[in-house]
Symmetry: D2
Subunit: 450 residues, 4 copies
């Protein structure tokens, strides 16, 4: 792409700006609706139903559930009864029963595809839909309370901005559908479940959904004020998340302690030793036993224990080192007490970094659009995002991938009960993402012109 803006580009930028402006009120409305009905990972039945209906109405081919999910790659899926209860609730709250049925069992992924008439690249955008397991504050000064759109689901809340992401995604879908005559190639809009806990992306990637993608885009709201954007994002930490259940033998602690096999001692030993896994000289690592519960009663030798663990690494190799050590510690602790341990994968993300060339293009776009007053030169994520799986796959296949952070002036820290965003970010994000996709979808055409 040439930095000199050709007429087509100028025209397109302007058209998209107008479309985004026109969609702003509807997008805010949608975000508030999603905020009011938050759905946790793999239970986004109502959210996904809305997405499916909207995408179909706009003319997208829509693939759902098993069509876009590799079953065995799904991580941290809730129990069947929980899934069923949430599906029921979604229907009560307006989800279409047939669509919910199609997503039964926590298969809440949606991919909308639009093929333009002229040949061109395949561009994919990812939007995540799930909420957090956080109880929203009832404080009078909390804007969602004032405006009447705070969560009606106890213990659940959009405290990470995925309500914004999804509503922006639908706005982008509408803008791109309006530009059909002017674009080439194919666009795939991926509405992903279960990004929290990094549980959902792998199943979509493993299904091959992005195998043919040349350009992959993702975005997240950030803590900076609305009007800022960062296009060079790096330092996605690889992560592994897993649960370990020790099953020992309970016994009366007074009458026959020697008959017990103490699962708590195994768990406490494992926790201490996992915490002590060696640093790695090749880069940063992390390890955390976030939850430990053991035992059934004061006077019973604990027969059961659960640990929830996560590891991270600056590279996937470092994360592998830490995870492998943790698994071995769990197994050794079980052997110590002659008991069983079952380890279940609960989430994961790869290490990744933006493709520099694509970041450069996006940064130029960010400046060109004139809607961002602060184009941040670079941003180190220093956290984990399962968008990294898409990046990794697309980059391995020779494509380019980038993740951007757009300012949303969060009212409180992420995952906090008083979290809220400045809704002014929605139009900006919608306009930026649509412009970026449009530019990439006109690439071949431009190449011919030049």
């Amino acid at each position: 792409m040439n930095d000199t803006i050709d007429k087509g580009v100028a025209f397109m930028d302007k058209e998209i700006a107008m479309l985004a402006e026109a969609l702003e009120a509807k997008t805010i409305q949608r975000r508030r609706d999603l905020h009011k009905y938050p759905e946790t990972g793999w239970t986004e039945y109502r959210t996904a139903s809305l997405v499916i209906q909207e995408l179909r109405a706009l003319g997208y081919e829509v693939a759902v559930g098993k069509e876009v999910l590799q079953e065995e790659s799904r991580m941290g899926v809730p129990e069947a009864d929980v899934l069923a209860a949430h599906a029921k609730r979604a229907i009560e709250e307006g989800a279409a029963p047939d669509l919910v049925a199609q997503m039964e069992g926590g298969r809440t992924a949606v991919v909308g595809t639009l093929r333009f008439s002229r040949p061109g690249p395949v561009v994919a955008l990812r939007f995540d839909m799930d909420c957090n397991d956080v109880a929203e504050t009832a404080a009078a000064e909390h804007r969602p309370c004032q405006k009447g759109f705070s969560s009606i689901h106890p213990g659940l809340m959009h405290a990470c901005g995925h309500d914004a992401h999804t509503s922006v995604g639908l706005g982008v879908a509408e803008i791109l559908a309006s530009l059909q005559e002017e674009l080439a190639g194919t666009v795939k809009l991926i509405f992903q479940p279960a990004e929290e806990g990094t549980r959902g992306a792998k199943a979509i990637v493993d299904k091959g959904v992005v195998d043919d993608v040349q350009y992959m885009l993702g975005a997240h709201t950030g803590e900076a004020p609305a009007g800022s954007i960062a296009c060079h994002v790096g330092h996605f930490l690889a992560t592994s998340k897993f649960d370990a259940v020790f099953t020992g033998v309970p016994a009366h602690a007074g009458g026959a302690p020697e008959c017990g096999k103490n699962a708590m001692m195994a768990a406490a030993t494992a926790a201490l030793n996992i915490q002590g896994i060696s640093r790695h000289s090749q880069g940063a690592s992390r390890v955390n036993v976030g939850v430990l519960t053991a035992g059934s009663g004061r006077n019973v030798i604990p027969g059961q224990a659960l640990l929830k663990v996560e590891t991270r690494g600056e590279t996937s190799e470092i994360d592998d080192f830490v995870r492998t050590a943790a698994y071995r510690i769990l197994q050794g602790a079980a052997q110590m007490y002659d008991i069983d341990v079952a380890i279940t994968k609960a989430g994961g993300a790869a290490s990744a970094t933006n493709s520099p060339a694509l970041s450069d293009r996006l940064e130029r776009l960010g400046r060109r659009l004139g809607i961002f007053d602060n184009v941040v030169p670079s941003h180190a994520l220093n956290g984990s995002e399962d968008f990294s799986y898409y990046m990794q796959r697309v980059q391995q296949k020779g494509g380019q991938a980038a993740f951007v952070i757009y300012g949303a002036a969060a009212a409180a820290p992420y995952h906090n009960s008083a979290f809220d965003i400045d809704e002014a970010c929605l139009r900006k994000a919608m306009q930026f993402m649509a412009s970026a996709a449009a530019e990439l979808l006109r690439e071949r055409e431009k190449a011919l012109l030049e």
Copy 2:
């Protein structure tokens, strides 16, 4: 007492036998009613209301709640909202609202006193009323299911026979009231809450309820077949029960792990070291961390942890040694992580052993009555019972105390969801306890005669 049975004794034995026979059906009925409506420690509102009404009807002076409980000695009292919910349920299930009000806030102790016209000793009997936190099996072969009296309270069950104890207690109350003309002195019937977790006795003893008692009797159903009885019971282990709550500082495990103060590591370290408290050369000891819960989420440095601990000792000194070591470990673990730990007493029992002279008398009685086919020479409890507090106090004041175990042919281990008793034990226990009390209450008279 002389082994040669005088005529009065023979007559009394016979009269009590007849009364017990007459009361058998009613006692079985009561036990089933109590079994159906189990109430956990300090929430025995319905059970205690029935006891109060019954004792009053029989002519006993009845003292309730604060009158018989030293407030600050109560241990392991549930939260106020739990107490209120259980009080409400008790009223819905038939408890007299005014009586429930009298016991508000978990003050569910009842003491019925009958003063006979002639002077004589003070004899006390203890009956415990609370159930276990165990969910009763719904298995078709479980007799309470077949007969329709299994627990209707989810997660609660009489799996330790206290339903039998309380119904036997009411039967004994009726028998002794029928013998008013023939007895001397005073009888106190103590219906105690919260024996499970050894939480209730200390508050009654500290209030001075047994300070004037010369003979103290207690009893428990045992695993042997109905028809067996053990009168020489020893090896009550002293015990201490306490909770420890560590309060650290949570932090994001990926973004700022160094900002956390890890309460789980403190708790796991404490658990391992408490488990390793030294044996004692002067006698048996026990220690158990029965419950450990820590942390709020996989990716958060755990800011909170709870341990439920119990220690035991063959003597109170040994229990003190273990408990003191455990407290120090908890405090050291908190210091390690620069966090706070709050330790709360949750229960306790002293070490104790039956008064040999009283055990001998009871054993002779057991043989004399002709209703036991197996008089077991001795029984080591090897567990904890807060009846030990009564024993200790009465023995310290120069009186005698004894605890007997009567066979009840438990259908499954104690505290098991399929626990049940052979109801044939009820009449035998009622007859034995009433006969024992009657014999002791005629002591002075006999002394005069001899």
Copy 3:
């Protein structure tokens, strides 16, 4: 045996008393010589050489080394170079080189047998010869210093009275040899190495040395004043002693910590968990990690670690329970760190208790001899003694065994650097042990007479 003392008995008692008196000075002298040249377990070359020479001179058949040791049952044998150095030292200090050669490689057991002409029972006595790894005090008030017989071997000392035991044993040997005409049957005098750490008895028992024994006697000096004796000794704790060596991989702690496999973390984890092995409801148990050494340098991930562990149990079953748990913990800890652990048996003793009939006889003898002013009714050892292996074997074969404790008024606690005995105990012990053996060796004769 009849309590009425027959003439033969009276005569024999008197004769032995005179012999003991005559031997007193020599026995004290011998004890001081042994005290000056203490030899630790399996290196008793000089001590055993003296014993061999003495026994041969008295007419005993003497079996040595491999003849009386089951090779593979020896535990805790020092390294070859240590053994060689001690053998060399023994020769320098007067041991006969040919005898030392016969005992090469730590085979320092000696059994002297005397067969009397008339048929009778086989009676065995055990005397232990090894010293402690304790440095003797140089304090002026310490009697061995004053009298010039304190240890000349740095770090080694008779601080457990085995110097007394061995010199008493030689006195008994001389007395019994003097009574050849009057005794029947066979006497075996077992001079055992390596009782400290309970390492030596098993190899002698496994060789079958006591398989034909009807009466087995052992003795130990006690803390009570000289003049007291206890013949009913019980509560020998079973014990297992073992070493564990973890072999990991060292690495530079700054440059490449992830390349290490941390043997210290495995060892520390094992130590904490071994300390926490459950109590046993069927009796007392003990567990101790007495020594832990790990690591080579501050800046090196520790590649090596050693633990020295001992377990005990009121019964051998309880000791088995604790030892098995400890082994499993060691193996689990090794697995945790992907390293090896090698466990080596270093000692052991069975649980045992005196044969009551034999204890009764010995107690009567103790009273009869008139040299003890305090016959203690019973003594609970509450420790471990590998004499238990002899007891167990003899009792299993239908014989009787007993261990007695004779007062020696220890000047300081056992195993203390200021330990010393009241040498007045030597004559009493010699007289008692010889009288007991003589009585048993005249049994058959007496039976014929009666």
Copy 4:
């Protein structure tokens, strides 16, 4: 400085090259002498004596011992008897007794100062003298064995190249003394003890020795072939080294375990928790418990335990975080067992990085001299060097400091028993260091000329 080489520079370079060539044989000889008589930290009596004599002969003012050491800042000084023994050995091996006396008690620092007649900057060079606690291999193929200069001190060896550093230092001293007419300002040659374990620099810096220094130079042999040099050295990790001694109460593990206060359990608990100290989000950290020894005997509750710990951080703040956490853990572990812990500082280094301007000058010099075939652009130390204390102080005072690594083709890894250097590096290092000092010492003159 201008890259165009002025005539003076060219002349000086040539002169120094000739001097270095002339000194090569003597320098190799000295290095071999030092290699043969290695002295560990704070015992460099013989080495320092040679240095003092040499510097005095060359006309340097020499300050020794207390004159250049802040007493209380010395870390990890051996016990008095060890120091005395090494002083005695040094005299036996040729050290001047009066000089040894001056350095008594481990005060083995030497600073030689030469003041040139014209005014100019103060330039300091540091050379370290101590050896490692490593036993040198006796392998026939080891060059020091072949040439007869391998260590004659068992367990001690120059396995880190300090023998080279010191002999290079003496060569530099001689070269600079030869150039007196041509230089300005002042040069300080610091011969430092106890760099291993980073124990010696702080005491010299705290004494103020480098407070007036404008340019500070240090150097170390590296693994690369002789002929390579790196002038931009960074990533000196801050480090803290300390010992912790737990003092509990021993007790017989069988007879009275409850009387013990277990120092090993405290130590093992501390080790596990220290290993688990949290990572830091702001940079790399390290922690290692390198040595743990506890307990005195298998059957004794361990009354004593020792840990040797080191922490590191990419910044001094991170090292502080880890060390502070470790101290707290040690104290909490002591509290757990009601025992004492004494923590002693044993070494330390700051984080540091070369002054870029000085590194640039040195790199240009490296290229200019024509004796290095590989000028390495940058080198991350990723380890600790107490030269960082000098750097920090000089940089804080406004001066510049740099550390260079010159190739020495180590025959085996550092600290390995087969370590050796390619002695060809000696002349190159001597020439480079002298040229660098000379250039800096002519700076003011040049400034005047320009």
